[in-house]
């Protein structure tokens, strides 16, 4: 099934990232001299098409959030290009824009954060939180502002009467909805969702994922969806990119990546997913050692000290990310040769129907006890 066609998604590219790097200086000693760099993002290439969701996965510290923040210029890139197709001014390299120029592009790019408890200013009312971007960009004021805020809250399933309440009065899921309303305020094209459902309970997680999908359809939004739950990413993404120590090692359509992975690291990640089926117990692929520090990565292929398929060349030569056909991008010397294991669909567990409501309720409550 071609999801790109099914959802009417185009082949036009909204955002293209080339050779993006973000290095953080390590300062030490009394003079705070720079003694090295944390190479959080170390030369990555990817693109996102209009109206699609690109999932971004990888272990903690591999540079997912740094990537998300750098493409929005919340962090300044060390090197590389971030080419964004702005609806008003056309293609621009965000990496080269100054503050004033950025201000014109900003409304089209927003972010939703993981932690619904610390990402909203506790001293502002819900109305102020959602209305703030509209005021800053001088889009609306007075009654028009209020109306727009009410509309946005309605859109995410929060009653507009709650406009005057403060964030602490809301549950995690509701706060995440408020964060989404704020991100939507300026009609953005691209939203970076940085672990938007990781802190939520399963039942609330489903509500928020559905909301994000509805909004995408309605407003033709494009998402960069960062998450570590690979089942959630599979559900929501059209394509998926896998990061390892500041580098994208594989990028493909969701089906390709999950069922026909071509990179040994992807294979190990997929094997580790805790599958909600007690009849399919899987044992993880042994990954010796730890994720290397991005301040001091290994030589050659960064994955080689943990890779069970590594050969001599892997220690010396870093494999570039290349298209092995059908927009399947892999950074492994042996991508074509290896026979790797993907996941198997979990369609054997029955989706149990909810019991039907009884036609007639017992006449008296006493009947039950």
């Amino acid at each position: 099934m071609d999801t790109a066609q099914k959802n009417g998604k185009s082949d036009e590219i909204l955002l293209e990232v080339r050779g993006l790097k973000k290095h953080f200086p390590i300062q030490s000693g009394f003079l705070r001299r720079v003694t090295g760099y944390v190479k959080a993002v170390d030369g990555i290439d990817f693109y996102i098409k209009k109206g699609e969701t690109l999932g971004l996965v990888g272990e903690s510290g591999c540079g997912k959030s740094t990537t998300g923040r750098t493409i929005l210029r919340l962090l300044d890139p060390t090197a590389g290009e971030i080419i964004f197709d702005d609806p008003n001014i056309g293609k621009v390299d965000l990496a080269k824009l100054n503050r004033a120029q950025l201000k014109r592009v900003r409304p089209n790019m927003q972010i939703i954060f993981q932690d619904p408890f610390s990402s909203l200013n506790p001293r502002l009312t819900v109305g102020q939180i959602v209305g703030e971007p509209l005021e800053i960009q001088k889009v609306a004021s007075g009654q028009a502002l209020k109306d727009r805020v009410a509309e946005l809250l309605q859109e995410v399933g929060i009653r507009p009467e709650n406009m005057t309440r403060y964030p602490h009065a809301f549950s995690g899921g509701q706060r995440q909805r408020i964060g989404i309303a704020r991100a939507l305020a300026l009609n953005p094209k691209l939203i970076v969702c940085d672990e938007p459902v990781s802190a939520l309970d399963v039942s609330i997680q489903a509500q928020v994922l559905n909301l994000l999908e509805d909004l995408q359809e309605k407003y033709d939004l494009t998402y960069l969806f960062i998450a570590h739950d690979l089942s959630v990413v599979e559900h929501i993404s059209d394509r998926v990119a896998v990061m390892y120590v500041g580098y994208i090692v594989e990028m493909a359509s969701t089906e390709q990546l999950y069922y026909h992975p071509k990179h040994p690291y992807t294979e190990a990640l997929l094997a580790a997913i805790p599958k909600p089926d007690p009849r399919k117990r899987t044992r993880p692929i042994k990954l010796p050692g730890d994720v290397p520090s991005p301040a001091n990565p290994p030589s050659g292929c960064y994955f080689h000290p943990r890779c069970r398929y590594a050969e001599e060349i892997c220690k010396v030569e870093r494999p570039p990310l290349r298209d092995i056909g059908g927009e399947h991008w892999v950074a492994c010397h042996f991508a074509e040769k290896l026979q790797l294991q993907g996941v198997t669909p979990l369609n054997e567990i029955p989706l149990v129907e909810l019991p039907k409501r009884q036609a007639t309720a017992p006449a008296t409550t006493a009947a039950a006890t």
Partner: protein, 349 residues
């Protein structure tokens, strides 16, 4: 006895699964917090058993009382236990001890805690002391309960670190917790918890903060050790995937009660309670219904200061029976003919 939490119905346990070989049997446990904002009824009659050598998964949304149940067994809860029994039987004895009756800080409880029952947490630094090396802390635990011989304690500490898959156990033993990665700290904590071959291990979301790769390895490790030592595990989590991979039996909690209890296969292939069914329908499954909406449970868990009359799930339940579910608390009953599957729902009474 009056049932303060529901205001209606009695909460006598109609059906409780028990086995000959239970290491712990919790009966009608009630726990409250008295706060300036009001009373929180955290546990409203929790009953369950854990058979020897088995892994019981305890699942439910945050705030439903999973951690407080575990902490009550350790007598470490900051709340007030208002009723119920926690019967504990250590390895190779037939004697049952009611933990609720013991003095929290008395010698008997201290002997049970950390020796016969250990607990591990989501955040390893809650049980590792940053000022001492990992090896030192494990040795202390061994010296306290097992042997007086320092060299022997050291040998055993290194041994257990090797068992939990540490690459270089001698070096790790001499490391301080902050020198280890998250996954290694979690392993160190497991090593410490298992150093005394406990009868029962209470694991409170031990992998929630870890990456899937590390999580999978820790789960694998816990399974292996559990087989080897014969420890029973109470495994608290909110991740249904982890439950399916790790547990033999499952107790599903909602608002301070167990609402369904069964073997892991029945929970996934033959769930009965509308909450369990809805939970399972709302998790994304690999390769299933991609591009379709997930099903979700409407509404949220009510706030802990309020009390819900009748079945606590009725405001969110798609199968609720008006006039009954909103008024009468359902009893726990066996599912048709089974002696291993219980549910607390009017649809089955």
């Amino acid at each position: 006895m009056t049932n303060v939490a529901t205001g209606a119905g009695t909460a006598t346990t109609g059906a409780q699964i028990v086995s000959e070989d239970d290491v712990v049997r919790v009966e009608d446990l009630r726990l409250s917090f008295y706060t300036t904002l009001g009373v929180v009824r955290a546990l409203n009659g929790v009953s369950f058993n854990i058979p020897r050598g088995k892994v019981l998964g305890v699942v439910g949304e945050s705030g439903c009382g999973k951690s407080q149940t575990g902490l009550s067994i350790m007598q470490l809860t900051p709340g007030r236990i208002e009723g119920g029994r926690i019967l504990f039987r250590e390895f190779n004895t037939s004697e049952e001890i009611d933990i609720v009756k013991l003095d929290k800080n008395g010698p008997e409880m201290r002997k049970i805690r950390g020796n016969h029952i250990s607990m591990i947490f989501q955040e390893p630094m809650t049980s590792l002391n940053p000022c001492y090396t990992v090896g030192h802390q494990i040795e202390e635990a061994i010296l306290l309960h097992q042997t007086q011989d320092k060299a022997e304690a050291r040998r055993r500490a290194v041994d257990i670190l090797r068992k939990v898959g540490m690459p270089n156990p001698e070096r790790i033993a001499d490391s301080y917790p902050h020198q280890l990665s998250g996954g290694m700290r979690q392993r160190a904590m497991i090593a410490m918890a298992l150093s005394c071959n406990p009868t029962l291990l209470i694991a409170d979301e031990p992998t929630t903060a870890l990456d899937v790769t590390t999580e999978a390895q820790i789960l694998d490790l816990m399974r292996e050790l559990q087989h080897e030592i014969g420890t029973s595990i109470m495994f608290i989590t909110h991740n249904m995937g982890v439950v399916a991979q790790m547990c033999d039996e499952v107790a599903v909690m909602y608002l301070g009660r167990i609402i369904e209890r069964a073997a892991v296969d029945d929970i996934f292939y033959n769930p009965k309670h509308p909450y369990t069914i809805s939970l399972l329908r709302s998790i994304p499954r690999l390769g299933v219904a991609r591009g379709q909406k997930l099903e979700s449970i409407k509404g949220t868990v009510p706030d802990p200061y309020s009390t819900v009359p009748g079945c606590p799930f009725h405001p969110r339940c798609p199968a609720a029976i008006p006039g009954l579910c909103d008024a009468v608390m359902p009893d726990e009953v066996f599912v048709d003919g089974s002696r291993t599957h219980t549910v607390r729902c009017h649809l089955y009474t």
